[in-house]
Chain length 149, copies 2
Amino acid sequence: MSAEPGGPESASTKRRRNTAKQRAVLEVLGTSERFRSAQQLFVVLRSQRPMRIGLTSVYRILRTLADDQIAETQRAEDGETLYRLRTEPGHRHYLICRLCGRAVGFIPTAIEEQTTGLSAQHGFSDVTHYVDVYGICPQCLRAPVTDDR
Amino acid sequence: MSAEPGGPESASTKRRRNTAKQRAVLEVLGTSERFRSAQQLFVVLRSQRPMRIGLTSVYRILRTLADDQIAETQRAEDGETLYRLRTEPGHRHYLICRLCGRAVGFIPTAIEEQTTGLSAQHGFSDVTHYVDVYGICPQCLRAPVTDDR
DNA sequence: CTACATGCAAAGAATTTGCAAATCA
DNA sequence: TGATTTGCAAATTCTTTGCATGTAG
């Protein structure tokens, strides 16, 4: 619960090894700007790569990347966690295609102000907000799942 | 996917039986305005009621209530589905205490306009937005989980 | 009576954990 | 070498399904 900067499990301080598996996950993540699940990435890694990575490692590596702020995550409508490489610093929100994961970023300024005000007004602390928008992108509307995902 | 008013699985038309189990779930839901999970409700039903309801039925009844718009649902931060009786018609958003489920409703007018504009701009269809805010309410901050939940 | 409701056990799906074997530094 | 990382199988957690039995109307 409490933040201990520099502590043993602090996000950016822990030193990581540089392994082939980690690099592979990072590379596959880099092939698309879309949000993809651990399971999807696992399938791509298994099929497009000669290496035999385990599903467990994919989950572990993705989590580490998210902890290190290298990847950003998003919850799909069904609760699955989706990942993609972080391109810009800071917290953002997305309009995501529920079929292919294509994402259009935006910053809901008004909502952020409103929620901040609401929280203060009702005395809530440790407030986190989620503003997610899902839809079907024009490409998928005419031809569902055309490419990689 | 398509809407067929009056069809066999249409939400408000299907006739339901009036059973003791359904009434029990409805009554327990009525004891609080907080959002609670099926598992939490199951525990309450098992302990506070002489009847032996099954977890499956709790899930089924809650889903039916949600389909009939009698209950409204919310996704917890960990993906669990939370329920509570619907008090007002229409879609609302909430600032929810992640410890006790207490909810403060609000309508993010600005965000709704912004997302509508964004969707149109990028050609997305079937757009749905989720604006969820989680925090710790003042009561839980000083005395975590004091009452029923 | 008969369709709908219920319970239990099993199935599912996403994710995590235990632990021994592999490997980076 | 020595601590991390990895993989597999098993465990977890939430939720749904199959199916035989119970019950409202």
